[in-house]
């Protein structure tokens, strides 16, 4: 018997049996639920994990610290710099009717700059260069949710282009009362040599990284009378997230109590989310296994007399097994196709109807093979496996017993 005959036989058996519709519906529902859970997992938890990994700001501790030398004996520290060297430039050449023109200029070293995805990384010996976000948002403060994606400046617009910032120098007033007065307006032009993924690094401030020496030159010009003792804080970059607690403990031992993270995601919440997802997945997987096993077993038991007649007519065990497994594969594939279709529609509706505002913050929904792979395994492979196991057991019965088992 050719395989095409097996397929045709199995296909006719499956599509004409209306009682199988319930099974298809049930399995497609389970599959849909697993797609939603796994989709959630990959879109939220993995996204956050990836952001933490790609953005050094998540490894950066902010402390009130006056003497950097104090920390020379603490391991795992890659970089220490003053927080007040970071500078918000509110008059830049980006400013136009759509863009507010604000930029955050930050301390840029190969360690502090997020992974560069276009162009090259920062070079401390090259002045007047900047690593900027791959997407410039019109509003650097990200104060509102609605944004037109066509208003976002993308890498093709900005890479290798230049921008200019405006800043003022100050001088002492005639009363010498500590309140500086504006002296003159200065310009500084930077060439954007590299871009980082500000979406995946959850960085929406239009933050550009420039070399520390240039940054210091600007901040010294802006505030030449800054008291060394008035340092508001110091950023300490740690080599790896897993060493954060170690460094924090060392800082506590040294008497620093005011310790914060530069950029923070509550790892406990992420872990809890992961645990919830895992528990839900286990429940769904168990549900699919139990439902499949019960339903397939019931169906095969109902079909026992038919299996018996096939054996009596000369069908070999493997042939019968093949036909019934093919039938099950048709049904589970149909269930999978229904589930994936409904899932994609649901996904698109959520993505383009309800999730638009989150995209402004870089939290985007995506589909990939990983989301589909496990539900595929669960729905088709698992059903096939269960069907195969139950069939093996049933096919061991002799023909008489199978025929006598008619409902």
């Amino acid at each position: 018997m050719k395989t095409t005959n097996d397929i045709k036989f199995a296909f006719l058996k499956s599509i004409r049996d209306k009682t199988k519709f319930f099974y298809v519906l049930l399995i497609s529902l389970c599959c849909f639920i697993s797609l939603i859970i796994i989709g959630f997992y990959f879109n939220i938890t993995e996204f956050i994990d990836e952001s933490i990994e790609k953005n050094p700001a998540f490894n950066t501790i902010l402390v009130t610290l006056n003497k950097e030398e104090d920390l020379s004996d603490v391991d795992h520290i890659l970089d220490i710099h003053k927080s007040n060297n970071d500078f918000y430039a509110n008059y830049t050449s980006f400013k136009n009717e759509k863009f507010d023109g604000w930029l955050l200029l930050s301390h840029g070293t190969p360690d502090t700059v997020p992974e560069v995805i276009y162009g090259k990384n920062i070079d401390k010996n090259s002045e007047d260069i900047a690593i900027c976000p791959a997407k410039f948002y019109p509003d650097s403060g990200a104060q509102h949710f609605k944004i037109n994606s066509s208003d976002i400046l993308k890498n093709t617009d900005t890479l290798n282009s230049t921008f200019t910032i405006e800043y003022n120098s100050y001088k002492k007033n005639k009363f010498d009362d500590g309140i500086p007065i504006k002296d003159k307006t200065l310009n500084k032009t930077f060439k954007i040599v590299g871009l980082y993924d500000n979406t995946k690094t959850l960085n929406f401030n239009n933050e550009c990284f420039v070399t520390p020496s240039v940054l210091k030159e600007i901040t010294d010009t802006i505030d030449p009378y800054l008291d060394e003792n008035s340092i508001s804080g110091t950023y300490i970059l740690i080599d790896d997230t897993k060493n954060l607690n170690y460094v924090k403990n060392e800082l506590y031992k040294k008497g620093y109590t005011d310790i914060e993270m530069k950029k923070n995601i509550d790892i406990d919440i992420v872990k809890s989310l992961n645990q919830i997802v895992v528990v839900l997945l286990v429940v769904v997987i168990m549900g699919i296994i139990v439902l499949n096993a019960l339903y397939i077993k019931k169906q095969i038991l109902i079909e026992k007399s038919n299996i018996g007649i096939l054996k009596a007519l000369g069908y070999k065990k493997n042939k019968i097994k093949k036909i019934y497994i093919l039938e099950n594969m048709f049904l589970s594939t149909l269930a999978f196709v229904i589930a994936i279709t409904v899932f994609i529609f649901t996904f698109l509706i959520i993505k383009y109807k309800f999730f638009v505002s989150f995209r402004y913050f870089g939290i985007n929904l995506f589909l990939n093979y990983k989301i589909i792979f496990l539900p595929f395994l669960l729905t088709i492979m698992l059903s096939t496996l269960i069907c195969s196991i139950i069939l093996n057991k049933v096919l061991k019965s002799d023909i008489i017993k199978l025929l006598e088992s008619e409902e």
Partner: protein, 239 residues
């Protein structure tokens, strides 16, 4: 259709000292006790007896559905006692046709598709000819106009005739029928026995297990069993 090879035209089936014992937890049940029988082509055999007489066991043994505990089973001169399950399946598909009391038609397949099921195993029937042969077989049992009906749309008698057409699909030498009229009314019973009789006249070996006295009118040879023993063998010449 495939011609049957190496067939002993006289002795279709020979059972020698055939014994079948079922072992239960408490006792041994001798379903067939040292039977010596032969079945020939072109003959209509009726196996009769009370419940528990061993007639269903006998037809199961003849249909290679059950193996003997002791003795020999010779089919067309070939000893089949030591054949593998797959070899027995091949013999069943090529040489045996089954008709059961409960018809056992596939509910999701139409009448002609049910008849085609055994043909799917027969490499000698071309795919394009299967449907044609199925329709011819249905015509031979008077059901060509019901070919596209599902079993649920057919009466009991019609379903049994579809089952007979299915039993004939691979042109087997032997038709085994276990209580083929058990669920049918008298009119359908006569129709079924007439068809089986016609098949025996065409040269097939027909073996029918039945409670019905009606079968005696059609059978060439009547085998009466009692507790696994052959009580009486009579043929048409006796009457």
């Amino acid at each position: 259709m495939k011609s049957k090879q190496n067939l002993n035209q006289d002795d279709t089936i020979t059972l020698s000292q055939a014994t079948k014992i079922y072992n239960t937890k408490t006792e041994k049940i001798i379903a067939l006790n040292n039977l010596n029988l032969s079945f020939k082509k072109g003959k209509f055999y009726a196996i009769m007896g009370h419940s528990g007489s061993g007639k269903s066991t006998l037809i199961s043994v003849l249909g290679l559905i059950t193996t003997l505990s002791e003795g020999n089973y010779n089919l067309f001169g070939r000893e089949i006692s030591n054949l593998t399950e797959n070899q027995l399946s091949e013999i069943r598909s090529q040489h045996l046709g089954f008709v059961f009391q409960s018809y056992y038609l596939y509910p999701t397949l139409k009448a002609f598709e049910n008849v085609m099921i055994p043909m799917l195993l027969n490499k000698n029937i071309k795919e394009k000819n299967r449907e044609k042969i199925a329709l011819e077989l249905l015509q031979s049992v008077g059901l060509k106009d019901r070919a596209n009906h599902f079993p649920r749309e057919l009466s009991g008698g019609e379903q049994q005739r579809v089952a007979i057409a299915r039993a004939l699909a691979n042109d087997p030498n032997i038709i085994l029928a276990d209580e083929p009229t058990g669920n049918l009314d008298e009119q359908n019973e006569i129709m079924i026995f007439e068809k089986l009789k016609q098949l025996s006249k065409e040269g097939k070996c027909i073996i029918v297990v039945s409670h019905s006295q009606e079968v005696k009118k059609y059978a060439d040879i009547i085998l009466e069993l009692n507790k696994g023993n052959m009580k009486k063998v009579s043929d048409e010449n006796d009457e």
